[in-house]
Symmetry: C2
Subunit: 287 residues, 2 copies
């Protein structure tokens, strides 16, 4: 096979990648070649534009380390993450809807006791989060693992400011109690721009887009016999609910982060200052 | 905009990227979203496969440094580089055909005098390369810049073995003489596998493909008033001419690396050992 032109090159590459032993690898490779060549044939990049594309991908890779995942950001802002989420998570009645994982999940979040304050002294408005985990028919799920993480009141995650925070904070892992309930204290997160000092931020700017996400708390909930749920709960009234840069908002995931006066909190504690209260009851789909 | 499903997400992202101020940025962004979402909708990746894709791109980025360009390799083995080349370089009569740049070009190659030996003591079979640079109507182009680079007899480039070679070698920049001619000595390059110890190598293996390229010498030729030419000259008879992993071979770019007995070489030198001779007369397209 030689002398390929603009049309024959695609068949040649398809023939080559079609040698894959694994049928799924063959399917993905062939689809990738067809769609990628279709894109190139449509936009007809100059040699300089191709080089710019190579530099963009290289720069995106170089921004990635154990605390920053620029390719996940890219997937998020191009709507790919939400598309993959939609493909994999149909919404059964009673099941909490899913949304993107985002780039700030950390596997080794510390396990804490129910009621713990996970803000570790970071400044902010107190927030108590309460909720429950149950099956689609409403049966409480005891011992579910509930991973939570969120930003501070300025919109930054712990991993973006490890020198200041001194370690992981505003993230923890809890277990639901015998009645499927959980609760913990933290500080109210704020809306924030995704990290936009890298290639993805430059792309957003060139596309005339803002980099903001509405305020939210991340949840990853796992329980034996159920599908893992990855989602957020968004703050009602946030100005970015309709223009989330990663297309992650669903109405069913919006709740009031309700302002409460000083006094008795839902867990019986007495607060001498105002606080906020977020409650969400999660429904898990059987595995 | 909220509550996107598998179908509505694409329109939402198109609306967002359609805000780009620059019309070319808008066009490329919209085409990217359509083709990328089309790919995702066709292969329906699981969450785990999406993560594998993110890891693949991240690993590809991490392999890139100032001596290794894994994203160019990826573009090459998926036929994208040759497709972009075909889009940008029509073949005017008398013009030498182009092929891929490849990942081993170095901008700062040393300028050398015609007749120099650029192998700098690297072991190998002596090869004299002769040729000329002319316009489409056969007029000699004097003072053209001729960048050349190639592998050694084991298939490795200087930049892959800098500890052993001690610097740049088997690459140089020449100027054509008053008659448009050039010539230099080096060693015969060999067929070689592209670097396949990274993510691209793993992908090739999973696709059931070998990583080999037929033996060749790279040329980049520039002259005022003419389009820059990026091409290779391939060794006739090489076993990989029909299965070049980057789809770069064109019949017009194949020449004998002709075996010659000891004796008088084309530049008048007398050799006491056999050598090889490659000649190619290049034609440049007006700018």
């Amino acid at each position: 096979m030689r002398n390929f032109d603009e049309e024959t090159i695609t068949e040649a590459v398809l023939e080559r990648v079609g040698q894959a032993r694994d049928p799924r690898m063959k399917q993905i490779s062939e689809a990738l070649v067809r769609h990628l060549h279709g894109f190139i044939r449509e936009v007809r990049p100059s040699q300089a534009e191709w080089e710019q594309g190579i530099r963009f991908l290289t720069g995106t890779g170089h921004m990635c380390d154990d605390k920053r995942q620029e390719f996940i950001l890219l997937s998020d802002v191009l709507g790919v993450s939400m598309l993959v989420d939609a493909i994999n998570h149909g919404a059964a009645a009673g099941a909490t809807e899913s949304t993107v994982l985002g780039p700030f999940y950390v596997e080794a979040a510390p396990e804490k006791a129910l009621g713990a304050n996970i803000s570790d002294g970071i400044d902010g408005e107190p927030l108590i989060v309460t909720g429950s985990v149950s099956s689609l028919d409403g049966k409480a799920i005891a011992g579910a693992t509930i991973d939570v993480w969120h930003s501070d009141g300025d919109g930054y995650y712990d991993v973006q400011q490890l020198e200041e925070t001194g370690g992981l904070t505003m993230r923890a892992r809890f277990r639901s109690d015998a009645n499927g309930k959980f609760y913990f204290w933290t500080i109210r997160p704020a809306a924030y721009p995704i990290p936009h000092d890298g290639p993805v931020g430059k792309m957003l700017d060139a596309q005339g887009r803002h980099p903001w996400r509405p305020a939210h708390v991340h949840f990853m909930i796992s329980a034996s016999g159920y599908q893992q749920l990855v989602t957020h709960i968004f703050a009602d009234g946030d100005q970015y609910l309709d223009s989330d840069v990663v297309f992650g908002v669903k109405d069913s995931l919006i709740r009031m982060f309700a302002a409460r006066p000083a006094g008795v909190a839902p867990d019986g504690r007495i607060l001498d200052a105002p606080f906020h209260h977020l409650n969400y009851d999660f429904g898990l789909t059987p595995a």
